[in-house]
């Protein structure tokens, strides 16, 4: 777990810089995929709830450094999404193609709902129209989930090689 945290901090800082300075130059449908979220979600699917939550927490905090929204709001929303997804994935059959995409859809929807609700509670403006405008983000995140998931799968194998008994 500790090694995962040490990896999470630099990874999430790099992704936050990409998210604010590079990805907005190449928008798709006027939106940019949330790579930090997809990475944290993939890590949670592969390494379990606790590590997923820690990665979601770090991802949210680093992203909020570059936002005028309340610091920690993204962390709360990411953790809520990972919590829901982790509970849901236990009830589903194991599949490395369909399940990550489905979880990206569910996770993104939960993230948007919790984030908009949380910022509203803290006095920021958000409305049903905002949620409708951001709905394509769910599809966008789902589209990017598989390559991110497999990259994280490879990274996980690199950090935690499986023991083989001969």
């Amino acid at each position: 777990m500790r090694l995962g945290i040490y990896v999470a901090i630099p990874v999430m800082l790099v992704l936050a810089v990409l998210q604010t300075a590079v990805l907005p130059r190449f928008p798709i449908l006027g939106l940019v995929p949330q790579l930090s979220f997809l990475v944290a979600l993939s890590w949670g699917l592969l390494r379990g709830l606790e590590e997923g939550l820690v990665w979601g927490f770090i991802a949210g905090l680093t992203l909020d450094l570059f936002s005028i929204g309340p610091l920690g709001a993204t962390a709360v929303a990411y953790m809520a999404a990972i919590l829901v997804v982790s509970g849901l994935v236990r009830a589903l059959p194991e599949n490395r193609f369909f399940i990550p995409v489905l979880m990206a859809v569910v996770g993104s929807a939960v993230y948007l709902f919790v984030y908009l609700l949380f910022v509203r509670l803290l006095g920021f403006a958000s409305s049903v129209e905002t949620a409708v405008t951001l709905a394509p983000l769910i599809v966008l995140n789902a589209g990017f989930m598989l390559p991110v998931y497999w990259l994280i799968y490879w990274l996980d194998r690199l950090i935690h090689p499986r023991r083989v008994e001969l």
């Binding site: 800082l13 936050a16 810089v17 990409l18 998210q19 604010t20 300075a21 590079v22 907005p24 130059r25 190449f26 928008p27 006027g30 939106l31 940019v32 949330q34 930090s36 709830l49 606790e50 939550l53 820690v54 927490f57 949210g60 905090l61 992203l63 909020d64 450094l65 570059f66 936002s67 005028i68 929204g69 309340p70 610091l71 920690g72 709001a73 993204t74 962390a75 709360v76 953790m79 919590l83 948007l112 984030y115 908009l116 949380f118 910022v119 803290l122 006095g123 920021f124 403006a125 958000s126 409305s127 129209e129 905002t130 405008t133 951001l134 983000l137």
Partner: protein
Amino acid sequence: MNLNDAPQRIRWLTVAILVGLAVIISILDATGNLDAAFGVLRDPLTAVLRITSGGADTVAGALSGPRDLEAARAEIAVLQAQVDDLERENEELREIQGEYQLLLDLFNRARQTPEYTRQTASVIGRDTSPAIDSIIIDKGSDDGVRVGMPVESARGLVGRVFRTTGRSAQVALITDNASAIPARLGNSRATGLLRGGELGGSLLMDWIDLKYQVEVGEVALTSGLGGEFPQGIVIGRVIEVNRSEAELSQQALVQPATDFDSLEVVFVITDFQPLDVDIFSNPPGN
């Protein structure tokens, strides 16, 4: 004590600690208690942003011009070295023309309203939250940029400085959900409140009195009411009017003059003093 429950307890303890921590940070930040602490963190990150943003510009420029590249290749095949030289010279001239255009825009803006001093700043990042419209610029409190200062582009109003660090500032855009700007229409002189958060990045001008005949194509300008923005800055143009006699007021959809997707340089109006309206919220004698 059942030891089998221990991992489950630890798991929920982790959830509780992390969620609690995030909520406490959010509340502290919303009340402005974390500005100094995170300003120290944001400054070095801004330096990284500046470098990354420059690289991204180069890549975006290269990707956006494949047709020019193909045309240039065809010409090179015919005219070879001579055309190559001319192309290079042409590119240099375009660069100069771009800089000239920028300086001309800046000069024109300054000439239109000579009473204001402007600080030019480059856009180095955008808000990481999809629900919030803001940009990060490369000028901060060290350059005289302060919270509340109006920000404009060569074409019109951009927004207001929301937060500053030593070398950067975050600007809340007029298209953001929370944005509400008192505005006036150029021809009809109707006043209303321009709100962000509409589909397609347009703005909704609300509370326009029914006595005014609002026309499509009218220019919307800041009215100066409320004292947060100087009077007469162009915001955009009316593209649709929603008038119903059953309502108490009418609405107009306004397309912002600034193209926020391709925004690279902005001007911060540094010597405009926003009106302090807090005195009206406190009863006399307090």
